[in-house]
Amino acid sequence: MSEHLPIFVVLAPILGSIFAALASWHQPKLSFPVVISGLFISWLSSFFLIFELLNSKSGIINYQLGGWGNKGEYGIVGIQITVDYLNSLILTTVTTISLLTAVYSRQSVSRELADQQRYFYALFSLLVSGLLGITITGDIFNLYVFMEIAALSSYALIAYGKGRSYMASFNYLMMGTMGACLYLLGVGFVFVKTGTLNIENLSLIIPNTLQTSQAIFVGFVLIMVGAWVKMAFFPMHGWLPNAYTYAPTGSGALLAPLATKVSVYAMLRIMITVYSIDYVLKSPNIQTIVLLLSSISILVGSFFSLTQTNLRKIACYFIVSEIGYMVGGAWLANEPGLKGATYHIIADAAMTSAIFMVIGCILFRIGKIEFKKLDGLFYKMPLTFIALIITMAAFIGVPPTCGFFSKFYLIQGAAQAGTWHFVIALLISSLIKAIILFRIIEIGYNKVPNPAKEGNKTITREEAPLSMLIPTLIVTLSLILIGLFTDKLVTNFIAKALPEIPSL
């Protein structure tokens, strides 16, 4: 039984989605519990996987689909699923956040999409299975297929938002398909040269024998560009703010934290395992360009967020700048940089999830998230407001929260590599986020709404319903917890996940 755990992680949400779609023909209300149980199974198995991984000596769990295609003279032939230190953490993050978001989205979905929620949860579950598939797979073509599963369901989820969301979703579809196609083309180049698609086989072939091959290099660049389009890295970030702003609350809260982070993971996996860090370091021209681009990405995201007055747009531009952190950290290609990037995938998934959940809560009660509508938010929704403050503090990087530690590693890495513009970009972006935090405090705490004007004596306290509030608070607490347990996370998982870094 336990040897089949890896497949359960992906299979449970897929089956959940199929059964939810079938059940909703009969009775639309049934689809929610079906999806929740699927996600719960997936969540449990991802936790068991972590324990199994910690107990195993090799630090890697392989699973051959259908028990077919074991190692022979040609290497691994069938499709393989791999769990190691790098992706087990991300698997758990994805399953936890998606389970919490599913519980959270129940109320907002039934309000926002009153009579059209029939297939919402089926798509929701399909999206989660796509993301989990990207994380767990050990085959680069399979990664493409899961990428498209996740992408197609996310186009539909965004288009649930009505109004401007159709156009936003269409733009996302164009960019997303282009990214996936470029990725596929890159896979083609790699396949021509190596004759295999398995990541484990590729990691044996490419770094050892094909270092100087032109085709492999072109494949590398195409795969990277494809992944960057998917994660909205700087020149290709145009689709993200609109798509996530106009999506309904439930899908926004799921997509924003997970979809981009999982693409970052895919990029890391290609960089670290398939082409080794050594390969990345030997192409220094790209490295400087990418580092420059990620600095620009951080600055652009931060400055655009300063010009917005819609809290959700601000959060979307935060994602753009956070993507800059992660890509930059990964491309520093030294130990602290990679540690910071990997750690930041988890930290940022939690942060973005928290801020989108808070926004959803505010949207549910107040109906608007423009700054001018948020006067005296603290007095109306104290818990939500505190959660917002903690999340913003994490974005800035205030010590007990997880944002501090990732920034610490990233700055250390940048200093080691001598990329000072990256350090400056990081500090400026922290500064701008601090400005936004003080604006929120100014609006939400200092502007006390005058109850006499509105005709009633006291300000009514009205938190979002418990099913929304509790997941929000859990995620916000986890920001501090991840920060406190940084040491354990880094030594037990992240340090083991990274390969030996060649010293220059």
Binding site: F141, Y144, V145, E148, A151, L152, Y155, A156, A159, G163, R164, Y166, M167, S169, F170, L173, M174, T177, M178, A180, C181, L184, L185, G188, F191, V192
Partner: protein, 110 residues
């Protein structure tokens, strides 16, 4: 392939963008199929010999089945993406009475 990419990026008409996407995907599919092709090759099927035994085909005389299988998946994905794209384009048309990107943007900012 490049025609498709250009059309996806530069055209302002949504339907033309969808067409560009289809061309781009077809280009990639052809690229993959061309990887697996060989001169004078047959389809890769294991034939039945005498006494119900299986005869493995001569590897030099069959095309590579792996690329074809991969592209079957890619075709399915491409058709799905095209379908979703056209459905969204239709929704946009219902809203704005136009397929032109600039007109839609003007409509939205009004």
């Amino acid at each position: 392939m490049m025609t498709g990419l250009w059309s996806m990026l530069a055209q302002s008409n949504l339907i033309k963008k969808c067409i560009g996407m289809a061309i781009f995907q077809t280009g990639i599919i052809l690229f993959f199929i061309s990887i697996g092709a060989k001169n004078d090759a047959l389809i890769p099927i294991i034939t039945e010999g005498a006494n119900h035994s299986f005869v493995n085909p001569n590897i030099d005389k069959v095309t590579n089945p792996l690329t074809q299988i991969l592209m079957l998946t890619a075709i399915v994905v491409g058709v799905a993406a095209l379908g979703v794209g056209l459905a969204l384009a239709q929704k946009v048309y219902q809203q704005h009475d136009s397929f032109d990107e600039d007109e839609i943007l003007n409509n939205q900012t009004k």
